[in-house]
């Protein structure tokens, strides 16, 4: 994978496994994937799928128990990786007694590269005073300051764990736009985890889906969109779907609705629709839940 003609990877893992306690369950297991550089990656999965664990591993806050993970082909936590990767954790911890200016000064002091203008621009866009104390800011404003801290170091890879969770829809749009601009202008690779699928639809061009600690999907978003079909037809046409991957199916009376990953043209008298990326992702997340339930029932 590290050969000269291998595509440069923003995030790469092989046999990656992690558990929080030596005897505990695996939070991540046998994860292998490659996210190319320059992509905006949606990291999706249900609660407890291992998204935050993966981002903490990539940010160097945790160390893998098995396998390896590389960010920009560097080992997370090394000085090289720290200088080029920014991580915004879910709780966005900041010093409450610091002013916003102090917080940005901390960024300047702790990083080798620092773009004060860029950091201040992110803060100012949120109409936050530089002399305000971080502890007095709203959660949304705090997120903005934390994001300014992450963007100020001019990272080549930006890891964001649930960055939008406590933002109102208007601010979400603004922040998404800011991230898009960053990616477009500077070629920054971004990996962001989110449960808000609709907003990932327009921005993300790579999907990394985790399911119970394993990688379910790591693919180009357009490929996913193009290869999935939402089929509606008579239930007795079910046989014609052999050879394709049926993600979810639902029978109502004699009518069958199925979301299918097509492996070539689909035969039969089906009403065919192109599902949205959101629908594809939801279907895969539901399928994950259904299989788990089935496995539990079987066990």
């Amino acid at each position: 994978m590290t050969g000269a003609d291998a595509p440069a990877a923003a995030l790469r893992a092989a046999g990656l496994g992690f558990r929080y306690r030596a005897r505990g369950g695996w939070a991540l297991r046998d994860c292998g994937f490659t996210v190319p550089r320059g992509r905006i990656t949606a990291l999706v999965g249900r609660n407890g799928a291992g998204k935050s664990t993966l981002l903490h591993l990539a940010g160097g806050l945790l160390r893998p128990r098995t396998g390896e993970i590389r960010v920009l082909d560097a080992v997370p936590g090394t000085p090289e990786a720290r200088a080029r990767v920014a991580l915004l954790t879910q709780d966005k911890p900041l010093y409450p007694r610091f002013t916003v200016a102090d917080t940005l000064l901390m960024g300047r002091r702790l990083n080798t590269v620092w773009d004060q203008a860029a950091a201040e621009a992110v803060v100012r866009e949120g109409r936050i005073g530089l002399d305000a104390h971080v502890g007095e800011l709203s959660p949304g404003q705090r997120t903005r300051v934390a994001l300014a801290l992450a963007l100020g170091k001019r990272p080549e890879l930006l890891l964001l764990d649930e960055p939008m969770a406590d933002l109102d829809p208007v601010v979400r749009g603004e922040i998404m736009a800011a991230l898009m601009t960053e990616a477009a202008e500077r070629g920054t690779s971004i990996v962001l985890s989110s449960h808000v699928l609709p907003e990932l639809e327009q921005t993300c061009d790579w999907v990394l889906m985790l399911r119970e600690g394993r990688v379910e999907i790591s693919e180009d978003a357009d490929t996913l969109r193009e290869e999935h079909r939402l089929l509606t037809g008579r239930a007795d046409l079910r046989g014609s779907l052999d050879g394709h991957t049926v993600v979810t199916e639902r029978t109502a009376g004699r009518q069958l609705t199925a979301l299918v990953r097509a492996r070539g043209p689909v035969d039969g008298d089906w009403h065919v629709e192109r599902p949205s990326l959101e629908a594809v992702l939801v279907a895969h997340l539901q399928a994950a839940g259904a299989t788990a339930a089935a496995e539990e029932a079987a066990a």
Binding site: P79, R82, A86, L87, P93, L94, M106, R109, L110, A146
Partner: protein
């Protein structure tokens, strides 16, 4: 490293300020009180006082003479409590505050490694602890000097003089810091870390005091006088309270077997029981340094051990 030192300073500057203020106030009180002490001594009233532990009561005086050493004893008490104070208010929040807020994740996501994050803040705190405790220990020594080892002053073996000055004060401060830091790393909550630190440092401080009283590490010397010859004067020695009699075979009995201070009665009693000598046990004044060095080794060793534990746990816990 420069950046993480800046952050360490930014987070600890209030504590550094408090420590500096404490040192200034202590110095001011010491200078004022010590000059008062010297004035008293210059009156000549104390010149007739004999060395030794007996109260000095010159003819015509209303009672025994004393210098005002209460503020000096307060400083000694402060020095003894220094491990607890530094541990609770400086050590416990050192890593505990970041752990509680989760801010170490933000810091570590910048260009700072775990090692730098820990080393810079611990180094700053340790330097301040050494400077503060060293200053207070020297201050005590200087202030104590005119009153040292006199019945109107403070003997070397009194708790505040024995444990409230010297190198063991510095070792104690470092021990408190190390204990608090480890507690902060393990407890994840500043308040819980403070509680644990208070418990551990207080217990260790009291245990060290007990080793002094029980002479665990610095055994007392036995002073023997043959027959009814007068015993060597106690003077500045720290008595264990053990007095006794020795037979020709070397057996030692309690002094109550012949409870007479001297004279014919004592002679008769000793002859009756076959005692050939009398003895008492005490630590000579030079043992101040022995107590100091054993304490310094004990507390310094504990500080080193706890720091090592913190460094080893840092990788797994943060």
């Amino acid at each position: 490293m420069k950046g993480s030192l800046w952050l360490a300073w930014r987070q600890q500057r209030v504590l550094v300020g408090c420590a500096a203020a404490l040192a200034v106030v202590a110095c001011a009180i010491a200078a004022y009180s010590r000059s008062g002490m010297l004035d008293e001594l210059r009156t000549g009233l104390f010149d007739t006082c004999e060395p030794g532990p007996l109260y000095c009561w010159p003819d015509g005086a209303n009672g025994p003479l004393f210098l005002d050493i209460t503020p000096l004893q307060y400083l000694g008490a402060l020095n003894i409590a220094l491990p607890v104070l530094i541990g609770v208010f400086w050590g416990a929040p050192l890593l505990g505050r970041d752990r509680e807020l989760g801010t170490h994740r933000t810091v570590l996501a910048q260009g700072v490694s775990r090692g730098q994050w820990f080393a810079s803040r611990y180094a700053l705190a340790a330097c301040c602890a050494v400077v503060l405790s060293g200053l207070l220990a020297l201050l005590f020594r200087w202030w104590w000097e005119p009153a040292a080892d006199h019945s109107y002053g403070l003997f070397w073996y009194e708790t505040t003089a024995l444990s409230g000055s010297g190198p063991r004060t510095v070792a104690g401060a470092l021990f408190g810091l190390a204990a608090g830091t480890l507690a902060g790393l393990l407890a994840r909550r500043v308040l819980a870390a403070m509680g644990w630190t208070l418990l551990v440092t207080a217990v260790v401080t009291l245990a060290v005091e007990w080793t002094h009283k029980a002479r665990v590490f610095v055994p007392p010397h036995r002073y023997v006088s043959q027959g009814i010859a007068p015993k060597p004067p106690m003077g500045e020695k720290w008595s264990t309270g053990t007095y006794g009699l020795i037979t020709a075979t070397g057996r030692r009995d309690d002094v109550l077997s012949c409870p007479y201070p001297s004279g014919a009665e004592l002679k008769a009693c000793m002859a009756r029981h076959g005692y050939v000598a009398r003895f008492y046990e005490a630590n000579p004044a030079g043992d101040w340094w022995s107590f100091q060095w054993t304490d310094t080794a004990l507390l310094g060793g504990l500080a080193l051990l706890l720091t090592l534990a913190t460094v080893l746990l840092l990788r797994r816990r943060v």
